[in-house]
Every structure is written in structure tokens, then in C-alpha cells.
Amino acid sequence: MVEATPSGAGPAPIRGEGTVVSNRVEAGANHRLLLRIPGWPGFAPGQFAMLSPGARGAVPRSDPLLPRPMAVYRQHPANGAPQVEILYKRVGRGTGLLAEASPGQRVGVVGPLGRPFAAPEPGERALLVAGGTGIASVYELARRLAGRARVLLGARGVDDLMGLDDFAALGAELRIATEDGSRGFAGRVTALLEEALAEPGPARVFACGPTAMLRRCAELARARGTPCVAALENHMACGFGVCLGCAAPLRAGGFALVCCEGPVFDAERIAWERLP
């Protein structure tokens, strides 16, 4: 059965404490974290959570100070508290700390946050394009759309393709691009998008990945007159609209907060050339 796809917003967020169920290297620098989070209210595709490894309380961790925004990959019904899965890449001190969290340890959680992906219109082909860590942001959308979606995943090499087996198990049409040619098409995932856009019929692009990739997706979609939405991955301190650190520049002037007006935006709204 196909679940209802989301429209406006996801569930109201909680400030909770997750307990690490498992936390493993998936491949290369990519990790897979499973958290048991009492009170977790569920989430909608494209939403994220702020994760803060280490107990906060009497003796808070102050370095590194800030929590890290992470896409919610998927959740599992479990006996007792819901379990939430996060795929992340170890890149710096924050994700390094997360990578060192062992089963039983606590992780502060604020989420789910942000406005989710809206469902495609009836009759539209859903083209999901994701690169690098952006892959984690589109899994739930791919799962809910199942056979209606074509999923295009790109990364530097096969080890960077997080969640690949999960995507393959969905039954969606799946195409892969790696820059080093270690899996699928040798080149950028945007080349696969260009091919897909050339096919006849209405379509809608759902993208998440590095800025350069998103910008190219927006250009390709615009050239075809195809709607394109993009989930941004800006740095942020809070995730719920008060630090104002995650501002994305808009073509119309001014800024939009990625945390609460996004992370999913109509790609036409974003001034890509001014997004760091």
C-alpha cells in the first residue's frame, strides 16, 4: 500500500534524548546510526534532526559546541520507543564525535525539523536526484513513491553511495553515477538527469546534494520547463529558526532560512551563484 505523501508540514518537533542502538561504518567514511528515541513523533520525507552526541546536563559538552543537522533517513516501528536511522559521513569534529558514540550512549535530538518534500502531481514522473550525503535526504521520498519514482544517485566512488542496497530493494528504477567509474555511469549524476529530462511527458525533479549539483539540476530543469525542488544542507546552529545562520540567498532578494522555510525549496527561488 502506498502511504499518503506529505503536503504542508511534518509532525511537531520534540527535544528528546536518543540512545544509540547501533552505529557502524557502512563504507569508507559513511556511517549508519540507529537511535531509539522515546516520544519521536514520526517524520516526513526531507525533514532533518539536530543531533548532539554526548549527554547534556550537569556537565555539558562544550567543544565542539553545536549540534549537527542530519537528514532523517528512515524510521522503524519497534517494540517500545521508535527507532530512527541516520546515514552520515564522518568529515569533521562533530561527525567524528558522532562516529565514536557506542551503543547505549545518549545523543541529544531536536526534530523532526523543516518543511518536507511535497508529493508530485498526478501524472508526473518523479525524478529523484541525489549526490553524496544528500542521498540520505531522498530515501524516504523514494520509499513512499516506490514504483512511481526514478532514482538517480551520484557520488565520487562506490563507497560514497550511502544506502545503496536499501534503494535497490525499493523496486524503484535506480541509476547510479560515480565520478571514478567504480559503479554505474562514469561521470556526474546530472548527466543522468539530463537524459531523464529528455524523455517525453511531465516530470518533477526532487534534488539533494552539493551546491554545484543542485545548481546544475535547477538549470537543466529550467531549460526543459520542468519543476524542480531542492533540499539544501546549510550549516546551522539551532534548526528551528532562531540563530538565523542558515540563510540562503533568494533570486528575488533577501534570504530564506533553510531550517524552517526549507530545507526543501523551489529551485527557482534560490540565488545559486550566491549560495556558499
Binding site: F240, L244, G245, A247
Partner: protein
């Protein structure tokens, strides 16, 4: 009922407890509704308001620093009119709301103060004196005692509300600045604002922030803040509201001991949107454990060696 009297007097206001949240870290309050009952707090200081809506700096606007963060948002806000008509009505009754005012010229500061005076539910005004003053060549209002005196005089004339002046730490003598505020009729001083700072990306050889300079906040600045609160407390007889890197009830106790009558929780709100409520309740529990009957008794009770 707790045996501890948590109420404090701060610059013309009686607060149910001495824990507020700091301007710029707490939005307009309603952002915290999913996480925290604002009535657990002594009050909150809303995001600084300008006469007109203000758009902030280009990104990157924030960056992490050791035990802290840098920001250069440039006081993006909805403007005083939208605050009054849209933001205030969204807040529950029973919350003590302090308006924060920020402008680029003295008469505009005074105008924002006038617009907020008489607005139901605005209990006090805090003047953010850390804005660069164009007429003084970009130096902050709060960095020149003569300019600060002019500013405080003007806003004092513009409002009958309790008036708090938020001081910059980027000065040689915070005691002198506090005395200027007291002399011009301020009801309290709040300190410290963020510490001017610079961080560099060695790969790009650029500052980490698009603005270049930013304000450092978080636990990294807590000992600086404690020092300045203590100096200000010794210099003036008006109350001091202390802030800078508060994360725990014990941090709040330190500020009270150094002379703060109340405290503001700032950057920690980003990490944990419920932290201010825990600081407020933890402070009460701390006092009970330590046989302190009134939190006000801790104010300035720092013991010498």
C-alpha cells in the same frame, strides 16, 4: 511549595525567577513553544528590533569556534511594527517580555523605544548598544562613553518603561560604561554582548564569515563575562543582568555571586531549546540543597580569598 524565594528585582521589574533568555538567541519566543513553557522563565528578551524590517548579512553567517560560535547576522529582524502586530499576540499570557532595541542613529533608537512604550505586555526595554555608530566612524555606541551617554539620555527621554542597557565587552573599562548608564538614568545594565572575533579558513585564506569579523559567544566567553559582571557590579548601584556562556544552574550561580541580579541564557538555547527552563529549575534546586532561602541573597556574595 519550594522553601526557596526565587523572585528577584531587576531594573524596575519583579521577576518570578532570575533566569531570562538573551536577545538574538530566542527569536520572538514562539519558536520555542514546542519545547518549553515560557512561563517557567523569569522572562525573555526578544530579538532586537529596528524601525524598519532589516535583512541580514550574506552567508556564511555562523561558524563554530572552540567552545563557542561566531556569528555575523547583522540583526536581521521583522521591524518594530510587525513585532507589535504579529509576534506579541502569538505569545501566551503570563510571560514577561522585554523588548530589545537596536538602531544606527540615536534618534531612531529613541523612535523605536517610543513605539514600544505603552504596548501591552512589553515589560521593559533593553538597549543593544553594540551597533556600529556611523557618525563616529563605525565604532560601537557602547565603546565611546560620550556617545553612550547621548544614547542613554535619548532613550531615557523616549520611554517610561524600565530601561536596561546591554553593554559591549569590546571596551577597556566596562565599569566606566556602566557608570555612564547609571548617570543617565538607566534602570539596569546587561552584559556581556558577544566578543568581537575573527576566525580563518587556511585553505581559502579567507575569514570563515562572509562579514569578516563576528561576535564570539558560548562557554568560551563565560570567564570574561563573569569578570565584567563583577567589575560592573562593583561600579554601580543599579542592578546587573549577567550573561555569557551560561549552560547550567551552576553557571547561573556564578553570575549571581559575581553581582548579577538576574541572568540570560543565550547560545545554549540553540543546542537545547529547553535549557533555560532547566537552568531556572536547577537554580532553585541548587539553592535548596545549599540552604539558600532567597536567590537574591546570592547576588554579589562572592567571597574573597
Amino acid at each position: 511549595m519550594s522553601p526557596v524565594d526565587t523572585t528577584v528585582e531587576l531594573g524596575g521589574l519583579r521577576l518570578r525567577n532570575p533566569v531570562l533568555t538573551a536577545s538574538g538567541t530566542f527569536g520572538y519566543g514562539s519558536e520555542f513553544a514546542p519545547f518549553l513553557d515560557l512561563r517557567r522563565l523569569g522572562g525573555f528578551v526578544a530579538k532586537s528590533l529596528t524601525l524598519e524590517p532589516r535583512v541580514g548579512n550574506p552567508p556564511p553567517r555562523i561558524a563554530e569556534a572552540p567552545s563557542g560560535m561566531l556569528n555575523a547576522i547583522s540583526l536581521e529582524n521583522v521591524g518594530v511594527e510587525a513585532f507589535v502586530s504579529e509576534k506579541l499576540p502569538a505569545l501566551p499570557e503570563g510571560v514577561t517580555i522585554v523588548g530589545s532595541v537596536f538602531e544606527t542613529e540615536i534618534d531612531r533608537y529613541a523612535e523605536v523605544c517610543k513605539r514600544l512604550t505603552g504596548v501591552p505586555r512589553v515589560a521593559a526595554l533593553e538597549i543593544n548598544a553594540s551597533c556600529p555608530h556611523v557618525e563616529s566612524g563605525g565604532i560601537e555606541f557602547g565603546q565611546d562613553p560620550r556617545v553612550l551617554a547621548q544614547l542613554v539620555r535619548a532613550v531615557r527621554c523616549a520611554t517610561s518603561l524600565p530601561l536596561w542597557i546591554k553593554l559591549s565587552p569590546n571596551v577597556t573599562s566596562v565599569a566606566e560604561m556602566a557608570r555612564v548608564c547609571e548617570g543617565e538614568g538607566a534602570d539596569a545594565v546587561s552584559l556581556i554582548n558577544s566578543v568581537q572575533a575573527l576566525e580563518v579558513d587556511v585553505e581559502t585564506r579567507r575569514p570563515v564569515l562572509a562579514n569578516g569579523l563576528g561576535g564570539l559567544s558560548g562557554p568560551a566567553i563565560r570567564p570574561i563575562a563573569l569578570r565584567m559582571v563583577w567589575q560592573a557590579h562593583r561600579a554601580v548601584s543599579i542592578p546587573v543582568c549577567g550573561m555569557g556562556g551560561i549552560e547550567t544552574p551552576e553557571d547561573a550561580v556564578k553570575f549571581l555571586l559575581c553581582g548579577a541580579s538576574a541572568v540570560q541564557v543565550g547560545t545554549s538555547n540553540y543546542l537545547d531549546p529547553a535549557v533555560s527552563g532547566r537552568v531556572a529549575e536547577g537554580l532553585e534546586a541548587w539553592a535548596e540543597r545549599h540552604g539558600v532561602a532567597r536567590l537574591a541573597d546570592l547576588v554579589g556574595a562572592l567571597e574573597p580569598w
